[in-house]
């Protein structure tokens, strides 16, 4: 392969990387169903989620550790819900430590989890598989889960 060909392909690919990145940062991720639930509490809750390293054990959209359950829809899940989540945050469990969170911190985390719940569905349990290997599933407000 000639040097100029290599340079040309590299240049095209590097340019593609930057253009694709900008597209992803903007129109690729512009949809946000839960934007009405983004408030100061939810923002603080998200940062607290990081500071306590909750992701070491839990998942959001199936991404994270596997010690505890996925928290994306924990606020609206059957048999769980806000009271269940708040109690766990206050007292911990056999597997989850008691972080001795303040009332404000608990409310912030609750606000973040409420926001997360509105954005989508995880894990996806009701879906249709298409002939080309792709999958369709219903979003949260279509009662997909």
């Amino acid at each position: 392969m000639k040097l100029n060909t290599k340079r040309f392909i590299s240049g095209i690919l590097i340019a593609s990387f930057f253009i694709y990145s900008i597209v992803i940062y903007t129109i690729g991720t512009s949809v946000d169903k839960g934007e009405d639930f983004v408030n100061a509490q939810a923002k603080n809750g998200k940062l607290l989620f990081q500071k306590k390293n909750c992701i070491a054990c839990h998942q959001i959209y199936g991404l994270g550790g596997f010690m505890g359950p996925d928290l994306t829809n924990v606020i609206s899940a059957n048999g769980k819900g806000p009271v269940f989540v708040k109690t766990l945050l206050q007292y911990g469990s056999v597997r989850m430590p008691n972080y001795k969170l303040t009332e404000t911190e608990i409310n912030d985390l609750m606000a973040f989890l409420t926001y997360a719940d509105k954005t989508g569905v995880s894990p996806v349990k009701k879906f249709e598989i298409n002939y080309d290997g792709t999958v369709n599933w219903k979003s949260k407000d279509e009662k997909g889960n």
Partner: protein, 440 residues
């Protein structure tokens, strides 16, 4: 006599790997017995395990690149001082990262859980590395073999994708969950692609050097495969986040690009018999032996990776231990095997010692233990992931009941982890002895 800087990179890399695997074993037992060794709980063990293993990948790969460039690539390093500064930044930052984890000061995100301020020295160290690398290789007038391209690409893309992984500090990204998760996994996916460039480049370099034949590293096919790898680095990451509700076309692009890996898989299978026959004739060379093992693991993991990239399969496997099987199979089976091969070439070369019969035998036993037990470890993770994925979709059991069902497989993972660590110790003890004598 001035000591070769690469030996320090490799030494700290090996220590990071052994430490990282120990924390991994600790975490694996905490998975089964939550009250096991509560002094360092799981939420600290996990980031310690991941960050130390990533440190092993970087330290050993970078140490190799500095040494191979200056000794074997007919170029003189632009600066001999910058690698020392690079090493010091890396070590001091590493100590701060470990300290922040142990004291429970987090703040970052998965894989980079340390407070984001510590990203600054990491970025500076990569700028220094990149500056020195490109200033060095641009003095090389003859056509570059593919590994010079791969190392440069790995450095360039690591720098940008690592910067990207820190975009969450801006509220535009942080306050929008779907954007935040998408950009996080865009950067994580490409970061892995960028360090794979450093590692696969090292593998090609070693084959070229040991066989004293540079035709493969300069062949048209090698460059076609390199560009295919680069396309995957840029566009393939979204198979990690099929269920995140970003634009639908993001998923379609990732699915389509992921399937181009079938070309790589096809090439491996097509050349399998010929390459294996050739490799077996050099199986007595320790470095070659580890590269042959990595070839087998590439075949297994690439097959798994392609299957996991099909949305119809991914919907069952996402968020299960099947993803862990893929990550562990790639990190231990492919990356670590290649980097051990590099260590077993580089350490004797620098220290001017050769392994005696007894040491070769110990390394050889460690090699077989590591590879055979890794297969059981990998299969146990696949089975745990398969059953978890099926039970989650069936939606009849609670999370805790599902975890109880897969507990036997996770027990196998923890026990085989201990045996893999034993194999690693057997492999590394002889070269560590060389380093100790050299540094005395």
């Amino acid at each position: 006599m001035k000591k070769e800087i690469s030996i320090y990179f490799v030494l700290f890399g090996i220590l990071a790997l052994l430490g990282g695997v120990l924390f991994g074993i600790l975490g694996a037992f905490q998975f089964i017995y939550p009250k096991f060794f509560t002094l360092i709980p799981f939420l600290k063990c996990r980031p310690l395990h991941v960050s130390l293993v990533i440190a092993w990948i970087f330290l050993s790969a970078i140490g190799g690149i500095y040494y191979y460039l200056s000794k074997y690539c007919n170029v003189k390093l632009y600066s001999n001082r910058l690698p020392s500064i690079h090493l010091w930044i890396f070590i001091l930052t590493g100590i701060l990262v470990i300290g922040s984890y142990l004291s429970g000061r987090f703040g970052g995100r998965e894989y980079w859980e340390f407070p984001p301020i510590l990203a600054v020295p990491i970025i500076i160290s990569w700028i220094l590395f990149g500056f020195n690398y490109f200033k060095t290789v641009f003095t090389k007038t003859e056509p570059w073999p593919v590994y010079i391209w791969m190392w440069g690409t790995g450095i360039f893309f690591f720098l940008f994708t690592y910067l990207e992984s820190n975009l969450w500090v801006f509220s535009y990204f942080r306050d929008h969950l779907v954007r935040d998760v998408t950009v996080q996994w865009k950067s994580n996916g490409s970061l892995v692609g960028s360090w794979n460039m450093l590692i696969y480049g090292t593998a090609i370099f070693l084959m070229d050097r040991i066989k004293e034949d540079d035709t493969i590293a300069k062949s048209r096919l090698a460059f076609i495969m390199f560009f295919l790898g680069l396309i995957n680095l840029i566009f393939n990451w979204a198979h990690h986040i099929y269920i995140v509700p970003n634009a639908v076309w993001v998923r379609y692009i990732a699915y389509g690009i992921s399937m181009t890996e079938l070309l790589i898989l096809g090439k491996i299978i097509w050349n399998w018999k010929r390459n294996l026959t050739k490799a077996l004739t050099d199986f007595h060379i320790l470095s070659i032996r580890f590269i042959v093992a990595s070839d087998v693991w590439i075949l297994l993991n690439l097959t798994l990776s392609i299957l996991l990239s099909i949305p119809a399969i991914n919907i069952f496997t996402h968020g299960t231990h099947l993803t862990v099987a893929h990550a562990m199979g790639s990190t231990i089976g492919i990356n670590t095997m290649i980097l051990i091969a590099s260590c077993l070439f580089l350490i004797p070369d620098i220290t001017r010692h050769q392994f005696n019969k007894f040491q070769s035998r110990i390394i050889s036993i460690g090699f077989w233990i590591m590879n055979i037990v890794l297969l059981f470890f990998w299969v146990a993770l696949i089975l745990a992931g398969y059953f978890k994925g099926r039970l989650v979709v069936e939606d009849k059991l609670t999370f805790q009941e599902i975890m109880l069902q897969i507990n036997p497989y996770l027990t196998v993972v923890a026990i085989t982890g201990v045996i893999i660590f034993t194999g690693m110790l057997m492999i590394f003890l002889p070269p560590l002895k060389f380093i100790r004598n050299y540094l005395r």
